[in-house]
Symmetry: none
Subunit: 209 residues, 4 copies
DNA sequence: CATGAATGAGAGTTCATTCAT
DNA sequence: AATGAATGAACTCTCATTCAT
């Protein structure tokens, strides 16, 4: 109804967007309200007007991300009928989300390192929901007789740990490659090959016989 | 009146030890010099006297940890003659180190999430050295004809990502288990079983035919 | 949808009423426009629309109170013919007003402590008018030969100081009584006895011979 | 052991001294840490270094004042042997303290108006101790048969209410006198005459027969 | 080597006030 | 008349870092 100013939704969106980037780049503590406000082109007080405090903003950011990934990964299951296909969809969707929203892996890994210090309640629910998806797939596969018994928690961390680390360490790996060409930090590896490799590894370990 | 004053090495050791714990628990930014000094029972100024600044202290902490893990993992290779045995040693040693020094995983994951923001130079070197070890093992296995061609970087992240996440998320997983018993967060899993499971997974994906 | 919107007088009255309470409870600085607006069920901007700024609102509140007390105390004189009776009326009316509007004493004492920092002009006029009333009574008594020469300002502060302190300290005295029963903070004293006691004291000091 | 800087006691004293003045002049909320630091010629952080937070500083200020007045008033009793003389000493000592430390009345009246919002615990204890002194004197007089039964709480407020108001309203009364000479705000009254007048009033109301 | 005192630069948060609708 | 969005100026408090002893 307005052009650009005096538009609550637009203002909130800008704040969330820039907060995401800055929280991902600098971490919760090092990302300042000043910085976020300036990047968003809004007055610093608006952050507190809409999100009460820094933690509230952070929660909002994380909620958005977790809701989105849960939805995408959850939706991806619908399109398949075998447990193996669902597993592939899980890994591929997670991988593509992590690449598209490259700030997400850093945020997630840091939050897990802090045991959910900044958004305790939400981390539980969100991580659990995501894990429950994989859990379902694995159980289904077992029931169908195509998967061996496994340790779902370990496989879950194998998938998301690997993918998240690959995304977050990209700049680090690139620099390492520049400085020491004798070591292959997989900087040129196409992500879909990597994703496929991860899928194959998990599938192989699950294969009966 | 005598206690431990006027003993440079002891003072430095106390600082490092407590800094480790607090950096791990609270992260780089949230760990304060005041806190570290009080926990160590030394005057705050000593931190700056011995380590120049906060970043210097952090570097020292990380160096110690990385040197130690590199040494332990490196040493573990000596005792074996097959690539497969060396791979198992790599994984088991890393796993046992991560458990014994349970602050390490949080520190490492956070630092990787930050692309080595706080200790740039060192992260390169140390991570590279560790990765080089695994790389060697994999190449050796390939040469011996017992391992298929693989993507070492991915396997590396699979191993350390999974192990580190399992250690750091322990409190989170415990709480989740308490609140929702229908989901198995593997909180009672013995770590050696998990370690073996990881090893088996990696080995299986490497097996020729 | 109809309630009380679009009704200037009602809105203004609600604001004044709640502002009174909150200024009394929290003091000028600690009472916020947000708080007053919320308590009044009106939009914050209305405060500024009707009263220009916080000081304006405060002035309006104080004016109302001072006008009311002046009117009540002033009116009370009419009904009597002797200076002594007028003095009693002054004290009793003030006392009953302070009890009925229990936020008034806090506001008055604070404003006197601040030397009228927030409502300079008005405090002069209002306090003076009130004091002039007592002054008149005392002079009249002197002329009639029933009162000795006195120091009106001192008697004025004796009356209003005592009454205001008794009202404002009520919660404090109640707590003190609960914690230490050996001391009598007069928490159960009927206010009319106290008022009578004050009157007697003043009368006694004024009595000729 | 030092000259002026690096002297904890001197620094603390300067802070307390200036805080007193500014809290008295502007009230708790309106007195800012910046202001107090600047007035004291110290870095703002020192306030928090020594007193933890603003409330802590305020508490320290009030403690100092209350301890001092209690001590002075308490000591004054020793020198007398009759209840009447002790009563005079109580009033005179309180009066002289209030004049000498002219910031005290404002602080006290405001705190009483707030029901001890900022220093709850202390207000109880301190006010009670002071009141207990007067209470003792009155009881002693009753036992000796020189005082009638009275309401100590009311007499206490009569004394301190009047004296405190006279001190705090001084600037107000001066301005009023300048603007309207027909009214006598007792601005030229010598404080010892006023004190004597208060004493006489209280004594008169206590006199048997 | 060791300490407590001192500092300066910010960070998060609040709040009176104004603007656009 | 009434509202929610927006702002700017403070304000309290923290913290890495340095100085004097």
């Amino acid at each position: 109804m307005a052009k650009a100013t005096r538009n609550a939704e637009a203002t909130k969106a800008k704040i969330i967007q820039n907060a995401m980037l800055l929280f991902a780049k600098n971490g919760y503590d090092a990302a300042t309200a000043d910085e976020i406000a300036k990047a968003s082109g809004v007055n610093k007080a608006m952050i507190f007007y809409y999100y009460k405090n820094k933690a509230g903003l952070y929660s909002a950011v994380m909620s958005d991300l977790f809701d989105a990934i849960y939805k995408e990964v959850g939706d991806s299951r619908k399109c398949c009928n075998s447990a193996t296909a669902e597993l592939r969809a899980f890994i591929e969707t997670y991988s593509s989300y992590a690449q598209k929203h490259s700030y997400f892996p850093a945020l997630l890994l840091r939050e897990l390192s802090d045991s959910g210090a900044h958004v305790p309640e939400m981390m539980f629910a969100s991580m659990r929901r995501l894990f429950a998806l994989l859990n379902d797939i694995l159980r289904k596969g077992e029931k169908e007789g195509v998967f061996k018994h496994s340790i779902p928690m370990v496989l879950h961390f194998m998938i998301i740990g690997t993918l998240n680390l690959l995304v977050t360490t990209e700049p680090l790996r690139r620099k390492a490659a520049e400085e020491d060409s004798t070591i292959d930090t997989c900087i040129e590896c196409p992500m879909d090959e990597i994703t496929e490799y991860i899928f194959t590894t998990i599938k192989t370990t699950l294969e009966v016989k």
